[in-house]
Symmetry: C2
Subunit: 218 residues, 2 copies
């Protein structure tokens, strides 16, 4: 019974996700779903990408959190339209919530919407939310076994960001293991080595996103 | 409809959890539920605690993972009875799975069972699994805002382990913020500063667990 209901919810979610994606594409807006563990550096990465991309794109942000609005406050402090989506305990965002919250953003003035998903390497991967593009973040301190242990998050993404890359000297982290595992579950998908703190790799990632976002809505 | 079914499952889970806990207590076995983000260091902490506690307690381990058996292999390599519980995609362990897997462990020869839950700061907190004791791990690289953002995981635990404490110099991490937030959602609960790598804080944590485990089944 549990599984049956779950499938029903997920089918519904897929339908709404496609509807959201198509409506945004009509308006020339690309939604980017940013996923990763708690503390992988999602907010910092989004903040850094806004700095790199704001001259070319008009950007808005939906901040997903179980509770609170720490991250939305941080983004709004940059002068970027931001709305807070609290899931009140749920471990992922669903397309229906995005559909409900989108009218709170000034859609006529946006080209790009970043959605920061709940910090979780499992459930968010199962629920599309109207995105044209998915970013999965894995930070160096989390360890090099994560692709093997949480495969779906690395299979169902458009790109992988190895974040906090400046921390590599302080951790036992085998890059080859991660890139080989990633390539085996998601052949040919790009991998970016990034540090929001030092700025390393941000230009490459921003360039990729700009190109892909423009392509997704044209 | 979703919520209704969820409640039914959770009530059932609570009943089974209490049944598992009571049966283990009759046999003098304490089950410890170890929770935290992906990469928080759950397996390493369990491994270190086994070293510290194995002279006083006969220990077994249940390794929860979405997929694979990397961690169970690591534990079995220590000569400790270990079984692998694969959730096949699910983001938390349920009491029913523990009930089913327990007979695979040599229960007559155990005093203590560590269960490594799925790496996730959200859902595991909602499902009791027959434990007498819960440990929540937060590692320094994850950041100091996690108690505010994932409150239930820090409210419904018996103790908090600040892990990878040797990494404190390399990250902007406000310990006072974490301990104040933790104390506000879980007043009086202990907090341990631990590094599995350097060994710092392990004696204090092992001492606390030994005392609490002995008390929970006597």
């Amino acid at each position: 019974m549990e599984i049956k209901v779950l499938h029903q919810i997920m089918d519904w979610n897929e339908d709404v996700s496609e509807e959201v994606r198509a409506r945004l594409a009509e308006r020339g807006i690309c939604l980017i779903n940013v996923m990763g563990s708690p503390g992988a550096g999602k907010t910092s990465l989004i903040t850094s990408l806004i700095e790199k991309m704001k001259d070319r794109f008009r950007i808005g942000v939906i901040e997903g959190d179980i509770a609170g609005q720490i991250d939305a406050d941080r983004i709004a402090g940059l002068g970027i339209p931001a709305v807070q989506l609290n899931t009140d305990g749920a471990c992922h965002i669903e397309a229906m919530s995005i559909q409900n919250i989108l009218p709170l953003l000034p859609l006529d003035d946006l080209d790009l919407i970043f959605v920061e998903n709940i910090g979780n390497l499992v459930c968010p991967a199962e629920f599309r939310i109207g995105e044209s593009l998915r970013i999965t973040i894995l930070s160096i301190p989390e360890g090099d076994d994560k692709v093997e242990k949480y495969p779906l998050m690395f299979t169902d993404t458009d790109c992988l960001v190895l974040n906090k890359y400046d921390m590599l000297p302080y951790f036992e982290f085998d890059e080859e293991r991660v890139s080989a595992n990633y390539d085996s579950v998601n052949p040919g998908a790009p991998l970016f080595r990034v540090s929001s703190r030092t700025g390393e790799g941000l230009d490459e990632l921003a360039g990729y996103l700009a190109e892909t976002a423009a392509g997704s809505v044209s």
